[in-house]
Structures are given as structure tokens and as C-alpha cells.
């Protein structure tokens, strides 16, 4: 109601108003410009273009000079005599490369201070491409791990952790469709092909009402639309992948497409040297990203995009495992009026993995799958200069196939499986971005979400001592689509930006997040075999409240950006596991789960240099993240097993990240990354007990994560050499050679410390020796070279 009143009063105050709206594009390739600024000269008014390049601004009847800007592009001025609604679609041209104007963000120069968003990180693909990468392969997930507040438990771990949240608490969106598993090759590479990506944005806090469904972060990845002016072929040959992308107009300025593919080729090369891979084994991964769009008319545009990726690790014909994502999304942008922009998204997303264990005649296969169908309308109503209302909804239908099994014994085949699970998640939201005064803007919104766990077998568990498997007390059937359990949640969101001056602001935010599906992972790192599970009558939805406040300052004509943010996050109904839990394809999975609370808090300091020969950023995060779960870390309290707070695996106290780029001349750029992260917590035993000849570690007092492994630090360096062959002697196009060294000073960073009995067969006569072993996934420096081209 308050919202309506505010808008209404604004309308009453206004004189005759007209709207200027349109799309902003890149003149060289027709790509929409996300976050370009539209300013009115001589006034503090302005707006920015949305993710589809659309903008709309409503002003009193008058004469204005519009200033359209996008950093790295030539600005355009447009004198406008505003006496009626106007449509201005504009194309901005990339600025001629100037040494002094190397930028690492495409946004407005003072966006850092003036934008209401906080706890948000953006990376454009150009800076991602310049970073020295692991094995020379440009990688989006690895790049965002260099941002403040973002961590990982180590090389080989899939995904990332944001402000003390778990990997499964991140919503990773590729053109609006969620990607359930973001890693290739067990975490070494992410599934996003950089040749097809345009823009990457990470929300760590202050999450707008239009996003929901995960507690910790939203990683919003936008794919390129495809060059609508001319054909482009780009690609590269690296140490791990080779890549090829083709884009171009289907109909000039009307429709375009992009198809980008990658495949690893270690197996292709190996096959020429060894015949070990000839007997049906295959070790490879690939992904294919495709997108097309059609500009039907001024008011309608449709997009169709898809992703297919798969990893195959088969050691013999019937031995190994494989996994992959598939997504398809359809979007329709429609302008109901110059003030009302809408986008309708429909998508399908699927993730599955399978294990095969067998030989020629005998085989056992086990697999799991999750699929989602979603419809998501969203609307932006550019009410007036001071208010922009966003509203919409979402309905997600989940189908979980927790386990299918095939057993072949001497050619005889039997199948078995766990029952499918279905769930429906729906949400509606409304949010308003409002400028209260020239220096104070606020964003406030509400997201109402409703979750239904749908029919099938209902399992009821009884109470037991926390930390023991819960006993099944009843099992009965519901009709297929009947609601077994439902949850309704209201999530308020609020942010403000108070500008202290042209170059400084204070921002604050509060958000509540709800999460209805859970990534079940009880291993040292998340892996491709971790499964998603819905909330049920036994698993409650997770929730989190986060407050953050920060100071933002730009210096030297926006050349430097500085910020300091502090956050506190309370997390409820966190999923944890009983000791020795069996979470892999388990009909009674919920008997193995525990529920507890979490808290994460910390400070993030960030400094960035945007211009000059040397650009880059430096950040420091001081953070804590802890859990309290009955049945874990309960000390000597065997009778009640009340848990005490313990640090999570991704509680990394100090976290220093640096990324630097030095442009020597227009041919050579040097780059370097540095990361320093406190050692991750782990559990050390105290005793060894011997049962059945096995030596079993035992922890006095049932402590969890009572030690830390040594600190992690790593320096990567790289050099990009432009125009090696193309761009010379009149050859068109561009190319480069990227040389990088990952882990330049060859530190053996610990991934884990584990305790085990001595390798080999224990002798029956002598006691078994016990060892502690420190493991580094990468034990040396990794040099790489890749050749990238575009023509």
C-alpha cells in the first residue's frame, strides 16, 4: 500500500510528462549494452539500461541533452525537445583503443558509488580473458573466486562459496536457466564457454526481490546474442580444450545466432601414442552453447538459447562415470508501452550422472537425475524519474530421479530404482527502486514463495538421539500430484544508497532468502555425484537473513574505487549429516540428515584501479562461518548430544586476493593473480581403535573441524601477445597468444590432511602403522600456452 501511495503522490506532483525509451546496442556487433548510462546534461537525473539493453526515462516536457555512455565506448549526445513520448534506439561504437583508457568494467564511471547495489560484483568477459588461467583455459568460476567474499576449498572442488555459504546455496543462472553442476572434470574447469559469455554478475547480498531460491548468492551469467552485423569466427587452441565459436546475422540487425563448442582433447592425443584407450575407454568432456534471437519488431524480441555439456570418464567399456547439464531457455521481450518492459522466460534444465561398474557380461549401473521446467514472467515499470517498479512471478516444477539401478548378471538384466520425487516452487515478487532525494535512493521489495512437495510415498521418521539414523515409523502413499508438505515464506528485501558527495556513499541492505532444494554433499569437496533434494515433510526449507552495510568511495576522477563492507548472516534449517551418513542414492536419505543453524559474518575491503597502464584490484576479507547442529560436535554429552558451534569446512579467516593487469603497449599485456586464504578447518583424530583387524580413527570429545590445514597461497602470472598473425600486413581479425604459469612459485598447497592406516596389505602378525598425509591436488607450477583468434 505504501508503495502505491508513494507512486501516486509522485504522479500528482508531476506536470506534463513524457517518456524516452529504447534499446542501446554495440555498433560493432549489435550486442545489447547491459548497464549503459543515460544522463541528462546539467541535471542529476539518469537511468541505466537493463540486461536486455532497454532503458526508459520519464521527464517533464522540456528541452534536454541526453548523454548516452558506456565505458570503453564513444559517448553520444542527443538534443531532445520532449513534447511527446520518444523512442531512441542507439548504437554506441567501441572507442579506439587508447593506452590510457584500459578499463576493466563496462559500467558508468561512478557506478561504484552511485548505484544502489552493494555486495555485488561484476566481471566483464574481457577482464576474465586477460587473467592468467589454470592450464591457460579462461574460466568464469575460477575468475569470480578472485573476488572478495568468494572462496573455494581448493583445486578440484566444484563450485564456490560466498560469504560463508555452501556451494549448493549459490544459484547459477545461464541466460535465466539454473545450471545444477557448474564444473567440468571434477572442478578444474567450469562449464561456461567464455567465447559465448557476455556478462557475469554475482550478488552476495542485497539481492533484489526478483531472485530467490538460494541462500547465499546469485551468479547471473548472460550469453552473447551473436553478432547481428557480420559473421565472426573465434576460437582457440589450449592445453586442455580447443574451442570454436561462430556467430553472425541470420538477417542483418534483425536476427543473429551464436554457436560455441569446446572439447577436451587429451584422449585424442593420447590415442596416437597408446593403445590403452582402444578398448572402449573414453576420457573427455565437451560443451556446446547455442543461442539465437529474432527482433520481431520494435516491441517484440525473442531469444532461444541452449547448453549441452558432458564429462565422460570411462576407464573401460563398462567402467567409469559420466555427468552433464542440459538447459534450454526461451525468452520473449515485449514492450507493453514505453514505460512497461516485460520478459517472459521458459526454460528446461537437467542434470544427471551415472556410474557403470562391470565388464563384458556383468554390469551394475547406477544414476541420478534432476530436471526442472520453469516459467518466469517479469515486468519493469518505469513509473517516473524517481520510481522503477519490478514485479513478476515464477513457477518451477522439479522432477527428481534420485536413483535408477540396472544390474546385468551373465546377460540377465534387472532394474530397480528409487521413486521419483516431484515438487512445485512458485513465487511472486514486487520491488521498487526509488530516489527519495537526489542523494538518497532506496530499493524495497517483497518476495512471496510457496513450495509444494508432491505425491508419492511419504516416509515418516521417528525421533531418536541426534546424530543417529532416524527410524522409519510409517510409510504410506499419496496420490501422484497431491501435496504432501507445503511451505509459504515471505522474504523482505531492502537496500539504500546515501550519497555523501559525488564520490562517496554509504549503502546498506537487508535480505531474507529461502531455499527449497538442497544440495546433499557430505564429502570433503562438492563433487559431480552430489544430489539435489527437495524440501519434504522431513526436510524443512532453508532460510537466511543477511544485513550488510558499506562505505563506497571513488578517488582521482573515478580512477580508483574503494569500498568497505561488513555483513552478518543468520542461516536456519541448514542441512547437515549424521556421522557416517550414506547420502549416495539412498531411499531413506532423510534418516541420515540433521538440521541446524549457521552464522557467517565478516568484513570485506576492496580497492580497484580502473584506468591507466596498470589496472586491477586488491581485496581483503576477514570472515567467520560456523554451524550449530545437534548430533555434531557435542563433546562428552552422549545423552543429549546438544551440538556446539563449529567452523564449517569453508571457514577461511583471512582471504587476500589480487588481480593486476599491465598493458605495456598495444601488443603486450602482463597479468598476475595472487590469492592467500587461511587453511580450511578439518578434523584430526586423537585415538586409534582396532576392530576386526581394521585400525579406526577416534576423536576424543566428538569434535568436528578442530584443526586447520596450512594456509593456501598462490601466484599466477600471464602474458598476452596480441596480433601475432592476424591484424598484421592487412590481415583482418585479431588473435593472441596467451602464456600463463599457474602456481608460479610451485607451492604445494594443501587440499586436505587425512589419517589412514599404512598403504598395502596389513600383515596378520604385526600391528598396523597409522599415518597422517598432507595432500596437494596441484603440487607444482603449471605452465600453459594457448592461441586464440577471431576473424
Amino acid at each position: 500500500m505504501g508503495l502505491v501511495c508513494l507512486i501516486h503522490s509522485n504522479l500528482l506532483l508531476a506536470q506534463e510528462q513524457h517518456t524516452v525509451s529504447g534499446y542501446l546496442k554495440d555498433a560493432s556487433n549489435g550486442e545489447a549494452l547491459i548497464g549503459a548510462t543515460i544522463r541528462i546534461q546539467g541535471q542529476s537525473l539518469g537511468t541505466i539500461s537493463n540486461v536486455y539493453g532497454f532503458y526508459s526515462i520519464t521527464l517533464p516536457k522540456d528541452k534536454y541533452v541526453f548523454d548516452f555512455r558506456y565505458v570503453g565506448y564513444d559517448p553520444q549526445l542527443k538534443a531532445v525537445e520532449l513534447s511527446q513520448n520518444m523512442r531512441i534506439d542507439l548504437e554506441l561504437s567501441p572507442a579506439e583503443q587508447q593506452l590510457q583508457a584500459v578499463v576493466i568494467s563496462g559500467k558508468a564511471e561512478d557506478d561504484h558509488v552511485s548505484n544502489i547495489e552493494m555486495s555485488t560484483e561484476e566481471l566483464d568477459i574481457k577482464s576474465i580473458q586477460k587473467m592468467p588461467a589454470f592450464a591457460g583455459e579462461v574460466d568464469i568460476i575460477k575468475s569470480i573466486q578472485l573476488l572478495p567474499g568468494v572462496t573455494t576449498v581448493g583445486e578440484g572442488a566444484s563450485g564456490f562459496n560466498v560469504r560463508g555459504g555452501g556451494v549448493g546455496q549459490n544459484l547459477v543462472l545461464l541466460d535465466e536457466a539454473p545450471v545444477y553442476q557448474s564444473s567440468h572434470m571434477l572442478g578444474f574447469f567450469s562449464v561456461f564457454n567464455p567465447d559465448a559469455v557476455k556478462d557475469v554478475k554475482l550478488y552476495k547480498g542485497g539481492v533484489p526481490a526478483k531472485y530467490g531460491g538460494r541462500l547465499s548468492s546469485i551468479l547471473d551469467i548472460r550469453m552473447k546474442e551473436g553478432n547481428s552485423k557480420e559473421y565472426d569466427i573465434s576460437g582457440g587452441i589450449g592445453t586442455v580444450f580447443s574451442r570454436l565459436a561462430v556467430e553472425g546475422p541470420i538477417k542483418k540487425d534483425k536476427a543473429s545466432f551464436i554457436v560455441a563448442a569446446r572439447r577436451s582433447y587429451a584422449d585424442v592425443i593420447a590415442k596416437t601414442f597408446t593403445d590403452a584407450l582402444d578398448d572402449g575407454s573414453s576420457l573427455y568432456f565437451y560443451d556446446l552453447t547455442a543461442k539465437t534471437n529474432y527482433n520481431i519488431n520494435e516491441n517484440n524480441r525473442i531469444y532461444l538459447s541452449g547448453y549441452w555439456g558432458r564429462d565422460v570418464l570411462e576407464f573401460a567399456e563398462n567402467q567409469g562415470f559420466d555427468w552433464g547439464n542440459r538447459t534450454a531457455s526461451f525468452r520473449w521481450n515485449h514492450l507493453y508501452s514505453e514505460k512497461l518492459f516485460s520478459n517472459l522466460t521458459m526454460f528446461y534444465s537437467n542434470y544427471d550422472y551415472g556410474f557403470k561398474f562391470g565388464d563384458k557380461d556383468d554390469l551394475f549401473e547406477i544414476g541420478s537425475e534432476v530436471s526442472t521446467v520453469n516459467i518466469k514472467p517479469e515486468f519493469s515499470w518505469f513509473v517516473n524519474t524517481n520510481n522503477e517498479v519490478t514485479f513478476g512471478g515464477e513457477a518451477i516444477l522439479y522432477l527428481f530421479e534420485p536413483g535408477t539401478m540396472v544390474d546385468v548378471s551373465a546377460g540377465e538384466r534387472t532394474t530397480a530404482g528409487l521413486e521419483d520425487r516431484r515438487a512445485l516452487e512458485s513465487a511472486v515478487y514486487v520491488s521498487n527502486d526509488q530516489k527519495l532525494t537526489p542523494s538518497l535512493s532506496v530499493q524495497y521489495g517483497l518476495r512471496l514463495s510457496y513450495f509444494n512437495y508432491l505425491g508419492g510415498t511419504v516416509v515418516v521418521y521417528g525421533d531418536t538421539l541426534p546424530g543417529s539414523p532416524k527410524p522409519v515409523v510409517d510409510e504410506y502413499k499419496y496420490r501422484k500430484w497431491a501435496s504432501i508438505a507445503d511451505y509459504l515464506n515471505l522474504a523482505p528485501r531492502f537496500s539504500f544508497n546515501y550519497k555523501l558527495s559525488q564520490t562517496a556513499s554509504i549503502k546498506g541492505s537487508y535480505n531474507r532468502m529461502n531455499q527449497y532444494i538442497h544440495l546433499i554433499s557430505n564429502t570433503v569437496a562438492t563433487t559431480p555425484i552430489d544430489v539435489w533434494q527437495p524440501s519434504t515433510n522431513n526436510i524443512k526449507p532453508q532460510a537466511a537473513d543477511q544485513v550488510a552495510i558499506g562505505y563506497f568511495q571513488n578517488l582521482a576522477n573515478n580512477q580508483y574505487e574503494l569500498s568497505a563492507e561488513t555483513y552478518y548472516k543468520w542461516m536456519y534449517n541448514q542441512v547437515d549429516y549424521i556421522d557416517g551418513a550414506d547420502v549416495f542414492v539412498n531411499k531413506y536419505l532423510e534418516s541420515q540428515l540433521l538440521s541446524g543453524k549457521g552464522r557467517a559474518y565478516g568484513v570485506e575491503l576492496y580497492g580497484k584501479k580502473n584506468k591507466g597502464k596498470l589496472t586491477g584490484w586488491l581485496s581483503y576479507t576477514l570472515g567467520w562461518t560456523e554451524r550449530k547442529v545437534d548430533g555434531i560436535n557435542y563433546g562428552g554429552d552422549q545423552l543429549n548430544r546438544k551440538g556446539s558451534w563449529y567452523p564449517t569446512r569453508f571457514d577461511q579467516r583471512h582471504n587476500i586476493k589480487m588481480a593486476a593487469f599491465y598493458e605495456l603497449n598495444d601488443r603486450i599485456t602482463f597479468s598476475a593473480n595472487f590469492a592467500y586464504i587461511s587453511g580450511t578447518p578439518t578434523t584430526f583424530p586423537t585415538d586409534r581403535i582396532t576392530v576386526g583387524g581394521y585400525v579406526i580413527p577416534y576423536i576424543n570429545n566428538n569434535e568436528r573441524n578442530n584443526y586447520r590445514i596450512p594456509d593456501y597461497h598462490r601466484l599466477d602470472v600471464g602474458m598476452t601477445l596480441n596480433n601475432v598473425w592476424r591484424g598484421k600486413k592487412g590481415r583482418s581479425g585479431e588473435d593472441n597468444i596467451a602464456i600463463s604459469v599457474y602456481n608460479a612459485y610451485a607451492r604445494q598447497n594443501p587440499f586436505s590432511i587425512y589419517f589412514s592406516q599404512e598403504r598395502g596389505r596389513p600383515s596378520m602378525d604385526n600391528p598396523v602403522a597409522t599415518n597422517a598425509t598432507q595432500l596437494s591436488i596441484i603440487g607444482t607450477f603449471i605452465p600453459a600456452i594457448s592461441y586464440n583468434f577471431k576473424f
Binding site: 561398474f357 547406477i366 530397480a416 585415538d687 589412514s756 600391528p767 598425509t773
Partner: protein
């Protein structure tokens, strides 16, 4: 989850490891009862020891001076165990274990009494042991033989087994060779009942690819060569013992290398040994179980090898 181990053991990706000697917290040095008894008319042994500091690899010290008694609750019989030099034992000419009977083990120390319960469950017989011929493959770079045993889980949900194997009389006692079955499959969450054990149970843990003479070697060797023999025992266990062994498997199997990403956090395994005083704060570890055993053995003779080869090429 055991599949991840079966497979990830094969992931020979470069990782780097070295042994360390971290300082550990004070050990608890608690009592450990290792009482896996069976239906054989042999000496029944119960080890009762004290846990040791984790890096202490001496023989665990036996706790002496205890009264150890096994009760058959179904027929009301009592079997007092004798204290030996290294363990407590019972020599008997008639098996103490009978399928379907309930048992109670009592361990009395001067200050406190501990007890545990177990039921002896049915066990299927082993129909046969088979050897298969394989051509050189990614695992072993020469023609080789592998083995599996054939047994059918009886109909009815909830049968639990511990399957033990011996190659040429040497017990498969490596942590990664610990083989359990729940009905015909590997865990209660994957219900497959009343059929031939699934392939991973039949073959996954009795084919030693590692070279026992050189534990550091990553070279895979043929699991069986002509002249080798395999002997397999199926021990019925109760559900609590299954859960204990299942959790134990993940605690003692530290794959190392890249497989480490699949490891679970270190935690204490369960126990069914409890103080009879409900308010007691004394911790005890270990397990009591009663097993019925079935067994079978077979040697890979030249004739068996020839038949396996002929079978392979005729398919």
C-alpha cells in the same frame, strides 16, 4: 557411494602427497570391544583392548580382569568366556550361534557393567566361484583372469552380510576390500532384494589389482593367475552391525590422491556396547555381532582357465 571409491581409485591423476606428523590432542584411551562371533564350532574370540594415541602403532593393550559372558536369550543359555593372554575366548564343541536366536554380551569391570545385544540372521549358501578371462585393458596391460562368487540373497528385505575373501590363504584385509551387502545390493537405500548379489558385491572386492609385494606401485597386476585360489565366506550380520561397518568403511578408506575429494569428514563410528547404567558418561567403542557363515572355495587350475578362455572367445 562405494562406487565412487571403486571408480576414483582408478583416477590416477597427478596429485602430490607427503606424510606429516601433526601434534594431536589428548587421547581418550577408552575401552574397545571387538566381539564378532559366529556359528562355527571353533574357538570364539573377543578382543577387549584400550585405544591408543593415533600414531602409536604398538600392539593394543588387552584390558584384563573383566568378566565376559555371552547369553543366548532365546534358549536361556550362558557362556562364560575365559581370560587368555591376548584375548577372552570360549572353546566349544557345539556352535554357540543359532540362526534366529537373540544374544546378549555382558562385560563386567570392577566399576561398571557394559552390555550389547545382537541377533543371528540367516545366510545364503554360495553356489559357486567363477573365473573369467579378460583381454588386456585399461586396468591391466595383459590378458588376465578375474573372479566372482555366485550367491542368491533370500527373499525378504533386511538381510545384511559381511563378505570376506582369501586369495591363496591370504585374507583380503585392506580397508578397500571390506565388502558388505544389504540384501542383494550394497546399501539399504538401494533396495534390490531376493536375487543374485549385484556385480559390485560379487566381484568388486575380491579382485586384487594392486601389487602386494610393492604397496607403492601404481602398476595394476592380474588379480588371478593359473594356480591361484579364492575362498569366500558370507557372514550374516544384523542391521546395527551393517551400519557400523558401512560407516567404518568410509572412515578407514582414505583413497588419497584425487579420490580424496570423495571422502567424508572424519567422525566416530557407532557402537552397540552400552553401560547398563543409563546415566553413565563412560565412552566405549567396538561392536558385538553374531554371524552365521557360509563358504566356498575354488582354484584357478589350467583346466578352469582354458574353459574361461574358450567361453570368452565363443561369445
Amino acid at each position: 557411494m562405494k562406487y565412487a571409491y571403486l571408480i576414483s581409485g582408478l583416477l590416477l591423476l597427478a596429485a602430490c602427497e607427503f606424510e606429516i606428523q601433526p601434534e594431536l590432542a589428548e587421547p581418550e584411551e577408552l575401552m574397545v570391544v571387538d566381539a564378532f562371533l559366529n556359528d562355527r564350532a571353533d574357538r570364539q574370540v573377543i578382543n577387549i583392548t584400550r585405544s591408543q594415541p593415533y600414531f602409536d602403532d604398538s600392539e593394543p593393550e588387552m584390558i584384563s580382569g573383566l568378566n565376559v559372558t555371552l547369553y543366548d536369550l532365546t534358549v536361556d543359555l550362558e557362556y562364560p568366556f575365559t581370560e587368555g593372554d591376548r584375548y577372552y575366548y570360549l572353546d566349544t564343541n557345539d556352535p554357540v550361534g543359532v540362526v534366529g536366536h537373540n544374544y546378549r554380551l555382558v562385560v563386567e569391570s570392577p566399576s561398571e557393567t557394559f552390555e550389547a545385544h545382537a541377533t543371528m540372521n540367516r545366510v545364503p549358501s554360495i553356489d559357486s566361484i567363477g573365473y573369467e578371462f579378460n583381454e588386456a585393458n585399461f586396468l591391466v596391460d595383459q590378458d588376465h583372469f578375474t573372479a566372482q562368487f555366485y550367491a542368491v540373497d533370500p527373499k525378504g528385505v533386511g538381510d545384511c552380510y559381511w563378505i570376506k575373501g582369501w586369495k591363496n590363504g591370504v585374507y583380503f584385509n585392506k580397508p578397500e576390500e571390506l565388502n558388505m551387502a544389504y540384501d542383494a545390493s550394497v546399501s539399504p537405500g538401494q533396495p534390490i532384494d531376493g536375487q543374485l548379489f549385484v556385480f559390485p558385491v560379487r566381484a568388486g572386492f575380491i579382485n586384487p589389482y594392486g601389487d602386494d609385494s610393492d604397496p607403492e606401485s601404481t602398476e595394476m597386476v592380474p588379480p588371478y593367475e593359473v594356480g591361484d585360489s579364492l575362498y569366500v565366506e558370507i557372514h550374516s550380520i544384523d542391521r546395527a552391525a551393517f551400519d557400523f561397518l558401512y560407516a567404518l568403511y568410509f572412515q578407514i578408506n582414505r583413497a588419497g590422491g584425487f579420490g580424496e575429494i570423495f571422502s567424508s569428514p572424519l567422525s566416530n563410528v557407532s557402537t552397540n556396547i552400552k553401560s547398563t547404567n543409563p546415566g553413565s558418561k563412560t565412552n566405549v567403542a567396538g561392536f558385538f555381532n553374531m554371524s552365521a557363515i557360509s563358504s566356498a572355495g575354488r582354484r584357478l587350475t589350467a583346466k578352469v582357465a582354458d574353459q574361461a578362455q574358450i567361453k570368452y572367445y565363443n561369445q
